[in-house]
Each structure stands twice: as structure tokens, then as C-alpha cells.
């Protein structure tokens, strides 16, 4: 589904003014009569230094614009194949540019902006870590792909044979690609269905923002990540 169709469905045909420049998306939209800021990547973007700076700039722009008014909610549209793989970007310190994006997301949160991520297309590894995963609430469209690495590559690196990995992937959400697996582990709060009213689901997502990071607890409740919350608690109580 193209971004324009997605935005029409989310906000109504007259409810958004979002432009794309290359792989970057930026603009405004209406949710429940309220203006929100939309920031995102498109077409399975590989996130490099330039794109990371664009994302950070858009977040800082929103925070600055609302410094003396009520902070607008921000919707991050995540569609990324992961970090750009290049010697140039690594030389400059791509991890540092991603950390900068994360700090900007955190500033927006502390300034009172509600943050929701919608995964459209795919969300992979470092690109997902850079900004989508740091939102207060993470939603995925029904066809969204989420992963660190596909099973073939994983089999090569871990030297565990592919059949064994495929067999285990059928019963465990812990390593195999899939939005459903991330949902079970609490890494994605909700997966929308094709029949849902996406505008209503988005409004509801902005309405159910938690104060703290409760993903480990959610992962435990859903049965996909049964140790993260209890081990963190064990350490905190020591």
C-alpha cells in the first residue's frame, strides 16, 4: 500500500498534508480533531547519517515549535530495512547519529509529546532501534515485517542448521522474524487488522500511552518473554 493510500485511510483524504523527500516523510495530520506531527521513512529505507539527521531535525523542529503551547502528538511511520551498510557512515559514527535521534525522541517525550510508532512495510534491526522502538506505543499494520535477521543468515552466523531453527521458530517467538512474535514478546503493543478502522485505532493508541516502559511486563503477560521483567526486578530488589 502506498503512503498516500495509507494516509487517506488513517486521516481521511482531507485530513493530512504530508510530503515525501526521497525516503523521508514529514508533515501534519488530524486525529480526533487534533493536529499531530508525522515523521517517517518510506520504501524500506536504509537509514544512513543523512536520513538520521533529517529525522532528528524534524523532531527538534516539532519540539521547538510547541515550546510555549501544548505539545503535539507525534506519529512515527517506520519503514526501514535497517541501518545503511557503508564504510563512510561507519567512519562518521552512524551509531552516534542514531543515539542523537534517540535523545531527540526522549526529549520530545519529556516535553510532553505523545509518541506512537506505526510500522508500515518493514522494521529491521538498527533502523527500528534508532527511533521507532523508542515510542510510547508501537503499532503494526497487518502486513508489517519485523526482524533482526532472516533465518538463513542467522543459521550461517550461529552455525545452527536451518531445519533446527525452522523447527524451533514454529514454537518459540524468541528469534524468528515476524510482527506476531514481537507482539508476544511485548515489543509491539498492537497489530491492526485489515478490517479495522485505522483512524480509530490510531486515536485509541494515542489515548493509551503509558508513563513508563512496560514492555517487559506485557511480554510476560502474553507469554512470549517470561524472564525479562522478573530478572530486572530481581536485580532492582537486590
Amino acid at each position: 500500500m502506498s503512503e498516500q493510500l495509507l494516509f487517506d485511510r488513517l486521516f481521511g483524504a482531507d485530513g493530512h498534508k504530508i510530503s515525501s523527500e526521497g525516503l523521508f516523510l514529514h508533515g501534519l495530520a488530524e486525529v480526533d480533531g487534533q493536529t499531530i506531527s508525522v515523521i517517517g521513512t518510506r520504501d524500506h529505507a536504509a537509514i544512513d547519517v543523512t536520513l538520521a539527521l533529517r529525522i532528528a531535525d524534524a523532531i527538534l523542529h516539532t519540539v521547538r515549535a510547541d515550546a510555549s503551547t501544548s505539545p503535539r502528538p507525534i506519529l512515527f511511520i517506520a519503514d526501514t530495512q535497517g541501518q545503511a551498510l557503508s564504510r563512510h557512515d561507519e567512519l562518521l559514527g552512524l551509531n552516534g547519529y542514531f543515539a542523537h535521534v534517540a535523545r531527540c525522541v526522549d526529549l520530545a517525550r519529556r516535553q510532553g509529546h505523545k509518541l506512537v510508532t506505526l510500522i508500515h512495510g518493514e522494521a529491521v534491526s538498527g533502523g527500528f532501534l534508532a527511533y521507532g522502538m523508542l515510542a510510547d506505543r508501537i503499532c503494526a499494520l497487518p502486513d508489517a515485517q519485523v526482524r533482526v535477521m532472516d533465518l538463513r543468515a542467522m543459521s550461517r552466523v550461529t552455525k545452527i542448521n536451518l531445519e533446527r531453527l525452522e523447527e524451533l521458530a514454529a514454537v518459540s517467538p524468541v528469534f524468528a522474524p515476524g510482527a506476531e512474535n514481537y507482539w508476544k514478546m511485548g515489543g509491539i503493543h498492537e497489530i491492526w487488522t485489515a478490517r479495522d478502522h485505522w483512524g480509530e485505532r490510531l486515536a485509541a493508541a494515542f489515548g493509551s500511552i503509558a508513563d513508563s516502559d512496560s514492555r517487559a511486563t506485557i511480554g510476560n503477560e502474553r507469554g512470549g518473554r517470561q524472564l525479562a521483567a522478573s530478572i530486572a526486578q530481581l536485580v532492582a530488589d537486590a
Binding site: 561507519e90 562518521l92 538498527g126 524468528a176 516502559d213 525479562a228
Partner: protein
Amino acid sequence: MTGRRISYFEASARQRLSGLVDEKSFSEFCPPELRKTSPHLARLDAPLAFDDGVVVGRATLAGHKIFIAAQEGRFNGGAVGEVHGAKIRGLLDKALLEKPAAVLLLVDSGGVRLHEANAGLIAISEIMRAVLRVQAAGIPVFALVGGSCGAFGGMGIVTRLCAEVVMSEQGRLALSGPEVIETVKGVEEFDSRDRALVWRVTGGKLRRALGEATMLVDDLIPAFRDASIDLIAKYKTYPLAPASLETLLAEHARLTARSERFATARDGREIWQATFVDAARVPELSVDEFNRQLGEQV
């Protein structure tokens, strides 16, 4: 400990930790006796560690209360799985309540542990949020990078979220490992077996010259200890202020200027030529001499 020539690079996580903190001051949270191992590694018949590759606890450093985590690079490349990540996250949550002078992260990690990739990725984003939260409360987190696995993947991002990054020349800090880039993009993009090139692109001197690392120290445990003590003193005098719009706009300008200045650079040599009078000598400079010459440029 002071005066003993112990390589930080070659030491284990527990050796680094005990050499860094005040003698007999360390007390471990979730110690190996509790045997909190990874069930996901067990299911794949992979080797286990009773601490799941990370040591966390409290200690004193020059008398100051600190929290500390040390990743063991010799176990699965220090990679972050569910239990490993939860221990670091729990330590940061605890820091928020007990307000130590600093939290030290002795990073030695390739990033996400692939055997439990989804749990690892989520855990790293939880650690990122926890580091940001702890620092917003005024508690500085220091990353120490000088181990054989460096700080890669999500742990490379976590490292750069920290208020201070202390590196040795042998330390490496980046996002994707050279092997990954070579596998996907080809050997002409990044030859991972060219060790000198790898160090010029990811190593401590390069990171310090760019400002990605805030201190460069010798590859000795006492050198990392002394640097950490100096940093605690610094934050006692000038407490950490939460990142603000002004500080992030300034950081944005700095990162933008770097990407414009080195718009086509692919080798640390290009950074040396722009930063040092005698670029050819940079690889052989001692840490002291490197820091002195770098200081003259600022």
C-alpha cells in the same frame, strides 16, 4: 592495583571490574550462584554461563558509590539476550532509586545475541530508554570501551547515549561490524581482514578525534579506573543537566558539520589529515602525545 600493568583488552569482565573499583567493595546483584542462565541458548544446545555473560552490582570508586555492569566478551561475544539485557536494565532501574554517583557500563559486545534475536533487540531498546531516564534524573552513565569485542550493534548506540565514553586505542565503536558490511556489500566496500583499516574506521583514536569518545586512555585497567575517578569528580562539581532543546540543537549542528566536512571520507586517514599536523604519525603516537596534539587543535 595502581601501577600494575594489566591489559584491559586481555582481561576478563570480572578482572576488569575488580581492578576498577575499590578493593573488596563490590557486591553482585543476581550472582552466578542463582544460575539465571538463558533458556533460549539451552534449547539450541549452545553453551551457557551462570551469569549469562554480564556481571552487575554496586561498589565504591575512590569512596563514591557507583553501580557497575561488565559484559564478558568471551561468552557469545558479549551479545545481549533476554537475561543479560534484563540484568543491565534492572541495574539502571535500581540506579534511579538509589542515586549512585555514576553508573559504569563496561561494554564488550557485538550487539544482539542472534540465538534470541527478538528478545535481544527489545532488551537493547529497553536499556536505551533506561539510560536516558537515569541521565534525565541527573545520574551520569559512563561507557568504558576497550575489550576485544568493542561496542557494536545496539550496544554501539547505547554507548553513545552515555554522558561519557572512555576508550583505549584498542577499543572499537561502531554500528555494523566490518564483516557484516563486507558480506553484504563486498570486500571493496570494507575489507574486514585489513586490521589497520578496521582500526582507522572504528578504533579509539578515530573516535576520540571525532569527539565520539570523550577520553582516550592507555590499555590498562588502572588507566580506566583513573579516568572514571576524574569523571566522577567532574560530575560532583558540575552535575549532569538533562538534555535540553538547546543542547540537542548544538549536538545536531556538530553532527551536521561533521557529515558535511567529511562528506566523502571513507578512511580515518582523511580525519587525521584534517586534524593533525603530521597525519602519517598518528597511528604510532602514544596516548599522551595523541591527547596533547588533539588538545592543541581545539
